[in-house]
Symmetry: C2
Subunit: 470 residues, 2 copies
């Protein structure tokens, strides 16, 4: 199985390269039921680090985790008109349970706004109960006809936040807080992905929302990936589920709500942002193994030295793996660790050691530095912050080089063939948007003139980012 | 809503008391689809601590987390005869997806042996790939006709481990390692529950296993709760899924397998082991809030002092909550924190403070100690280890007082009306077991004469523990 170096080059066929990396780095496989996915240990460990980073920020933003049922009565989804229209084509329906046909079919949750609101309407009584800030980590199901591992799967893992607020302003502020302090911060500072953050157009909005914010990544092929969204739901769900509170003047009011989610799609974003022709390149913050100590041959004290370096890295709090599989060729193992994207590798072999040296290799740049054994662990540990920053800088440079300023819709269409197009929203408008969307180019987000979040599409100076999207 | 102190006493009606605690401590509610459950934030936070304790031990035992699909082709389950017979009556079946009737119905996983083996058969090639040690955290569905929150629900959260080994001995050793180092250790030293650990009889074995180990808790009403099981699957699944490896002599062999799981049922165990007539009593190791600092009235510098004590506890690494809701009566808040089972409470009020004092209250014993403000945080922090040990000691004393040594099946039946009966297995036998099972008393586990794990039922001196069970 001499498969290791055989990745389709990115420049030749990006989608094929993506499939190759997913398969050969042992990240995921297709499930037996169409569109489902097996997440293998290496990718799942990445997901655990992503989850931990998000979960800490979600809790810092005051939300508490809970868990709501997988099964939702079909009738719940029908209550909010836009919502059911958006999700109906994607539903999985359970018709039999416990050996009998069910009286009422139930759907497997595609998202939990409806079932969660059926509880919020009981839990919220007075303004003292607000804000109510709930998050859940769960699997959801949306039937996919054209699945792609991590990017679009019938079942995926995600977190979905659902909140109730006394006022529209408070709901909006919270939706932005999640967008900025949880999503953007994790994506930029943990995943090393310089997302474009903005507002969705009416056309691209979540089914049932009055406003959707989004984080859009620029992938290695110039296409956009929607990486996370945070929605203002207004009072749409509150009205159909009668989620009411008694305000401090004694009047019944509908709550204002938000919902927000990110998913295992983030693994796809990591692959397509940082990957190169040798495989995955993981930012140290989410790498299951940050440094691999690779024993070349167990001679001349190399085994003991490799173990000692690994032990020192562990003491320094580095996630380290000691690879002593000397019955597999050194070259093959090095290539495997490159495929898996481990940020730093220390090669410990008898020839180097005879000169008092080991070699430290950066995965991101390929830079190889032979250097003294003494201090090698410290040098490797110090490199991690550098690799983290460098991957972000490289992705930012790519993003910027792939963004073209244009003035007209036809120019935007052209530019979107290789990256993002940025043009004034009033040079496009709803009609221009629809026309381009039919040709596969969509408005990924709107930003205010200063790069901030616009309150609406019509704000003067609003800028649209367009691209082809996953 | 003056509901707080109104729990049905345990002695009056234990099941009603359980329902009351679950509802009034805000732990869980029924979902809209029969048998499903909403896990509210307080109980979910307990679950997160339980999960973390288990996950750390699972990883120390060498297993890696992964994720397999929710949907399993119905045909997979039919391949292992005992397995499908065991699970068929409980399956939820999806017949429609993406707006169409599916060509082949899929089941929502009741457990994942079949789908995981369909991948193991691809991943395992040679003895070098063994052992293969995989765990997943997931939701599973088993249709329940008589659901009870946490104890028996149609959907529940759990972890399920699945492993492949080269030899039967290695598989057995690993199943025991998980039983002892992961399950028993967590239950005893984290949850404070002194489980009886042993072997299941053939009658009580997992559907598809050749041997099941179990951890059985003694609940407050003397009934047994099966809290976790670890199974030797032999080569049953390996044979039907053709999970083969090339041994070091070049021969194809079927792997030997294990599977093992614990679920959100552990929350039910915590409630029924440690709860009292005032509500839940949480072991500090899993308490979302370990110490609550309760501001009585914001006068005489009490607000500042309460905040300072909370800050000091936080610095000491204690999970602390500062309750300043002085517009709700002190008594009601105290009762609420008792309901929720927070291990230690510090009451900070102007009257005590005028004498330089605050009051430290233990939830487990009810002991109230007024003492100097100085050092109060340290005293409360030190109490946590004491409360943890004391809850385990109390549960152990209850377990032992509820275990009767008997010599005959009819005596076992009698003793099982209030607790566990222990009798020699050869005084019972398969027929005696069947007869008692029909009357609602089952063999919870078998132990060897020395209290260890018996290799089979027929080993001389084997002892059976019988009880009524949840």
């Amino acid at each position: 199985m001499a498969q290791q170096s055989i990745l389709t080059p990115r420049a030749t066929d990006f989608p094929k390269w993506y499939q190759d990396v997913v398969a050969k780095a042992g990240l995921a496989e297709n499930g037996p039921v169409r569109g489902t996915m097996v997440i293998r240990p290496w990718a799942y460990a990445v997901w655990e680090h992503v989850q931990a980073a998000l979960d800490r920020r979600i809790k810092e933003a005051g939300a508490e985790n809970a868990y709501f049922p997988l099964f939702i009565p079909e009738e719940y989804l029908r209550r909010e008109a836009d919502h059911v229209e958006g999700f109906s084509p994607e539903l999985a329906v359970v018709t039999h349970g416990g050996g009998k046909e069910l009286e009422e079919p139930v759907v497997v949750r595609p998202t939990s706004e409806t079932i969660i609101n059926s509880y919020f309407s009981k839990w919220v009584q007075s303004y003292r109960d607000l804000p109510l800030l709930i998050n859940q980590w769960a699997n959801v199901v949306r039937w996919e006809l054209r699945p792609r591992l991590f990017l679009r799967t019938t079942e995926f893992l995600w977190q979905e936040g659902h909140t109730c607020h006394a006022t529209q302003d408070d709901a909006r502020d919270y939706s932005v807080r999640i967008l900025r302090e949880v999503y953007e911060d994790t994506m930029v500072n943990v995943l090393g992905i310089p997302v474009r953050v903005g507002r969705k157009t009416a056309r691209e909005r979540f089914a049932g929302a009055i406003n959707s914010w989004t984080c859009e990544g620029v992938m290695g092929d110039g296409k956009a990936l929607q990486m996370g969204t945070s929605h203002e739901l207004g009072q749409n769900f509150a009205k159909v589920f009668e989620t009411l509170y008694l305000d401090d003047s004694g009047n019944q009011q509908h709550v204002w709500q938000t919902s927000w989610g990110v998913s295992t799609r983030l693994i796809g974003a990591l692959i397509m942002t940082h990957g190169d022709d040798k495989g995955l390149r993981l930012p140290p913050a989410v790498a299951p193994t940050q440094v691999v100590v690779l024993l070349v041959r167990d001679e001349g004290g190399a085994g003991e030295k490799a173990a000692a370096i690994a032990a020192e890295l562990k003491r320094r709090g580095v996630r380290v793996h000691l690879d002593t599989r000397v019955d597999t060729s050194f070259g093959r193992r090095a290539v495997d660790w490159e495929l898996k994207g481990v940020p730093v590798r220390i090669e410990v072999g008898p020839r180097d050691l005879a000169e008092g040296k080991v070699t430290v290799v950066r995965r991101d740049t390929g830079d190889k530095q032979p250097g003294p054994v003494e201090g090698a662990a410290a040098r490797a540990a110090d490199l991690l912050a550098e690799v983290q920053a460098s991957l972000l800088a490289e992705a930012t440079a790519l993003r910027d080089s792939r963004t073209a300023d244009v003035a007209r819709a036809d120019e935007a269409y052209e530019a979107a063939q290789t990256g993002f197009a940025r043009l004034p929203w009033d040079a496009l408008g709803d009609d221009g948007e629809t026309e381009l969307a039919q040709k596969g180019v969509s408005v990924r987000c709107l930003q205010a003139a200063d790069g901030g979040l616009p309150h609406g599409e019509a704000e003067p100076g609003t800028v649209a980012y367009l691209a082809r999207a996953y």
